[in-house]
């Protein structure tokens, strides 16, 4: 199997640019996730790889095989790309039994009957659905349909497996189990996989690497750990997990650390972020990293409690203090209206003030 390579891929519909100049390389056997809010262009990118969406310009290739080249006007028909695709709705053909659903791609490849039966059995074995070969899709549960859809996408040994939010129609418990199972299967088959989801927990759990997308661009590409712990911009910091953004002014920079002055004059130390930052900045800190403390001190601000909720494993509080409103998660119940919270410098990163997502 070979690498999937996207070069300067752009997909526009009239004036709307859905995918804006994306370049990406997925090494053979990797599990890459395209993650982003709805409308960010992740599914559009996926379908253009499948050939079901027509890209506007750029190049899509698998190893040396060019699937799409806007410059040369090359576009391979989807049926000749030899890609496996699992749809969000599973798209099992309702008039065919499970066995017939799997046989169809093999018949198109002129595989003879006995060979076909062997492969169908094998593929259904992989997804643990062997007993259901004669059932029709409407007789299966959502989870079973999802497995059959996966088997159908794998039965003809595609060079690349594409998954479009395949777990989003399952209920929460089943979804968690299915993603573990999916990852195990992918590791075993070593099939290059591109996975699309808007669920960050799912992305963190299954991926080798994640490409966080927004407004048709890749904002950050990295391992789940890199994405979560060292987001490169405020959008990623907010979209993966969630972040508080404390407004302030950068007053000093000292190696990896920076000093920021908040509106009430209090001063916080935080990770320096990008070197070109100056003036108005925000300090990003995740709610679970904010510590409730007993008394004032270094990197500690006073906040007043607005509202709170008990979430089972933690308490979540909305507070306001210097720098704005923020949210904290703590295992301790807060009893008074006023409290001190510590923003650990190692958990705080600076971003430009104008890069904060509007919805936040």
């Amino acid at each position: 199997m070979a690498d999937l390579i996207l070069e300067q891929l752009t997909i526009a519909y009239g004036d709307v640019t859905a995918v804006d100049n994306i370049s990406l390389s997925v090494p053979s056997g990797e599990f890459l996730t395209l993650l982003g809010p709805s409308g960010c262009g992740k599914s559009t990118t996926l379908f253009s790889v499948a050939g079901l969406n027509q890209a506007t310009s750029g190049v899509i290739r698998i190893g040396d095989t060019v699937l799409f080249d806007g410059g040369k006007g090359v576009s391979v028909e989807p049926e000749h790309r030899n890609i496996g695709l699992v749809f969000q709705s599973y798209a099992l053909w309702p008039h065919m039994s499970v066995g017939e659903n799997l046989a169809f791609p093999l018949k198109l490849r002129k595989v003879n009957k006995s060979e076909r039966d062997t492969r169908i059995k094998e593929a259904l074995g992989l997804v643990e659905m062997s007993d259901y070969i004669n059932r029709y899709p409407f007789e299966l549960s959502g989870g079973q349909q999802q497995r059959v859809a996966l088997a159908r996408a794998l039965v003809y040994r595609p060079g690349l497996l594409l998954l479009d939010e395949p777990l989003s129609n399952l209920d929460a418990k089943l979804r968690e189990r299915a993603r573990v199972w999916l990852r195990e299967l992918q590791e075993r088959l070593q099939v290059t996989t591109v996975y699309v989801t808007h669920d960050q927990a799912e992305a963190l759990a299954v991926s080798d690497r994640i490409a966080v997308m927004s407004e048709g661009r890749i904002r950050q590409l990295g391992t789940p750990k890199e994405i979560y712990e060292t987001p490169t911009d405020a959008f990623v910091a907010d979209f993966i997990g969630s972040s508080n953004f404390l407004k302030g002014k950068l007053i000093e920079r000292n190696g990896p650390w920076a000093t920021v002055q908040l509106s009430n004059g209090s001063v916080l130390r935080a990770g320096a972020g990008k070197s070109e930052l100056s003036g108005d900045v925000v300090i990003a800190v995740r709610p679970e990293r904010v510590e409730v403390v007993g008394e004032p001190g270094e990197n500690i601000v006073q906040v007043s409690l607005n509202s709170g909720a008990y979430l089972g494993s933690v308490y979540q509080y909305e507070v306001s203090g210097p720098g704005g409103h923020y949210r904290i998660q703590t295992s301790k119940e807060m009893s008074s209206k006023q409290a001190y919270v510590r923003i650990p410098p190692e958990a705080a990163t600076l971003f430009a003030a104008d890069s904060v997502p509007q919805a936040a």
Partner: protein
């Protein structure tokens, strides 16, 4: 996770061997054939309208005098006014009766509403010619009921041989169409909407009138324009009721000029009048589209819809039943009974009990004449073969227009739906001109195949209207899954979409069969000895004043239609009109 070897799946991939795609060839073939079918009959009409001699004459020259003559000589002003009055009246009567019936039958606890609803749509299954003749037999100047009324009260207060009489007959014949369109709107309305009105303090009746009835607006607008257009292009009723007293509408004018003009018909005038009619109908269909544009406001079925409850009529239940039944009795039962009765007696009169005049003579006459028998046979053959061909044509057009990446798919759909604006008489005239004009097409002249072609063309929009909604029920992801699995466009259509479309194919075939079987207007310029159909033979017999055989033919048409509808519903599980 069971331990199954995954080794095999890691072997070399299995690509589909690329071959030259045949889909562009299919796209272009379908598009070009459709365009030729639609433009074929239009071009000669436009040509003829601007030629001073018949268009097959080589030295015919371009002129605009046809239009000048049309408005000055031929009394076109009166004809246009007649047509307008007749069509407006047809529309108003059809809308009022159809809409009221839809609300009462669809949403009240009227006794017997299900069988009465079924009975109400029966006129839709037969041609206007049959209904016109039924009305003529019962309510005409010497009709059974007219004479009975005169014998009983000394006078009959109606005169169908007038524009108002014609409008009344046509309106009551078209009311079922309005009913059919409105019944969907009132019965499919989301029950939660009325429930919301109820909890806001409205009575059941008030909720129905204030919430659901306004929801019928798109259906009312749509059917209003449709009925107006049907009024403009209707031939049978103006011919039967206007002809004897010299009242002409556009269609009877065209019919007389085109067919009955004894020696040589005036081609120029006919072409000009046809073009004017085409423009008027085209404008109306365009207007209909404009009026329907914002109808999303009234889309009520979203997600899981629950069936709305019925409104209790209370003590008005039986009086309402009496009214609805009387309506059905006088406009449907009596009309059909008239045809059957007239067909089985020598002379229909209320003065002698009809069983004393019983005879099989009318049917014997029909079955003794080869040309009459042939017309029945031709009708059946045309409807069967045409129904199959029409279904295939419509499915191919729908596949390319709705399910392909063909660049001109929107244009194709637009062209395919154009025959909505093509009145039957114009379609027939156009095909007639086309075969005399275009070299080589002469072999089609006088065969049933020209009729099949004309009927199929005329009813592409009807068929498309059945196939397209069914097609949009089939998720596009099923196609996409097939494409990515290695199937080309045509393979996907054949193996995935077509099998899923099967119920809709049966419905389309049944609907086309019924339309072809009752069609006659399109055929009046196209049939010759050997290719007559029931409708044209009825017109010929009617012109000779042979009312007995006409009724016998009409009765045969009704019986065959009934058998077909019954069989289609039972065997094919087809839903026809609800």
């Amino acid at each position: 996770m069971t331990q199954v070897s995954s080794g095999a799946l890691q072997e070399a991939a299995l690509p589909v061997r690329p071959k030259a795609s045949r889909s562009p060839f299919i796209f272009w073939t379908v598009a070009i054939l459709t365009a030729v079918m639609v433009i074929g009959p239009l071009a000669p009409i436009v040509m003829q309208a601007f030629l001073d001699q018949p268009l097959y004459v080589d030295e015919a020259a371009l002129t605009t005098t046809n239009f000048v003559r049309l408005f000055t000589e031929a009394g076109m002003g009166t004809i246009a006014l007649n047509t307008l009055y007749f069509s407006v009246l047809t529309m108003l009567i059809a809308q009022v009766f159809g809409a009221v019936m839809a609300v009462v039958i669809g949403r009240s606890n009227l006794p017997g509403r299900s069988w009465m609803g079924e009975l109400l749509i029966w006129p839709l299954f037969v041609s206007n010619l049959v209904t016109a003749f039924g009305w003529f037999t019962m309510y005409g100047p010497s009709g059974y009921i007219t004479l009975g009324m005169q014998a009983w009260t000394g006078t009959a207060p109606w005169n169908l041989y007038s524009l108002t009489g014609m409008g009344l007959v046509a309106g009551l014949s078209q009311a079922p169409l309005t009913y059919l369109m409105c019944i969907g709107a009132v019965t499919k309305a989301d029950a939660q909407l009325e429930a919301a009105a109820r909890s806001a303090g409205a009575s059941p009746m008030r909720a129905l009138l204030s919430v659901t009835v306004p929801m019928m607006r798109p259906a009312l607008i749509y059917s209003a324009v449709l009925n107006f257009v049907i009024g403009v292009e209707m031939l049978a009723i103006p011919l039967v009721f206007g002809g004897p007293v010299g009242l002409h509408t556009v269609t009877t004018f065209l019919y007389d000029q085109g067919i009955n003009a004894a020696v040589q018909s005036d081609y120029g005038i006919v072409g000009a009048a046809a073009l004017m009619l085409l423009l008027v109908v085209g404008f109306l269909v365009w207007l209909q589209g404009r009026l329907m544009r914002n109808s999303d406001r009234f889309v009520t079925v979203r997600g899981k819809a629950s069936r709305p409850s019925t409104v209790d009529l209370g003590k008005w239940r039986w009086p309402a039943f009496a009214l609805v039944f009387a309506y059905l009795f006088f406009t449907v039962i009596v009309v059909f009974a008239g045809i059957l009765m007239r067909a089985s007696v020598t002379f229909l009169t209320p003065l002698v009990p009809f069983w004393e005049l019983l005879t099989t003579h009318n049917f014997e006459l029909i079955f003794s004449q080869t040309s009459y028998v042939r017309s029945i046979w031709n009708s059946v053959v045309i409807s069967l073969i045409g129904g199959v061909i029409g279904t295939a044509v419509v499915v191919m057009i729908a596949f390319v227009a709705r399910r392909s990446d063909f660049r001109y798919s929107r244009l194709l759909e637009y062209i395919a739906l154009f025959p909505r604006s093509l009145p039957g008489i114009i379609a027939g005239l156009g095909f007639f001109y086309a075969v005399v004009w275009i070299p080589g097409l002469d072999i089609l002249r006088g065969t049933i195949w020209i009729l099949v072609a004309a009927f199929v063309l005329r009813y592409i929009p009807i068929g498309f209207g059945t196939v397209a909604p069914a097609l949009s029920q089939i998720g596009a992801e099923l196609d996409r899954a097939a494409r990515i699995s290695g199937a080309g466009w045509w393979t996907t259509m054949r193996h995935i979409v077509l099998p899923l479309l099967r119920p809709a194919l049966f419905s389309t075939f049944a609907l086309l069969f019924i339309h072809f079987f009752k069609e006659y207007v399109t055929a009046v310029f196209l049939y010759q000895s050997g290719s007559e159909i029931i409708g044209t033979t009825m017109l010929a017999l009617y012109a000779q004043g042979d009312n007995g055989p006409v009724s016998a033919l009409a009765a045969i048409q009704v019986i065959i239609t009934a058998l077909f509808v019954f069989t289609a519903r039972r065997l094919l599980g087809v839903k026809i009109y609800g």
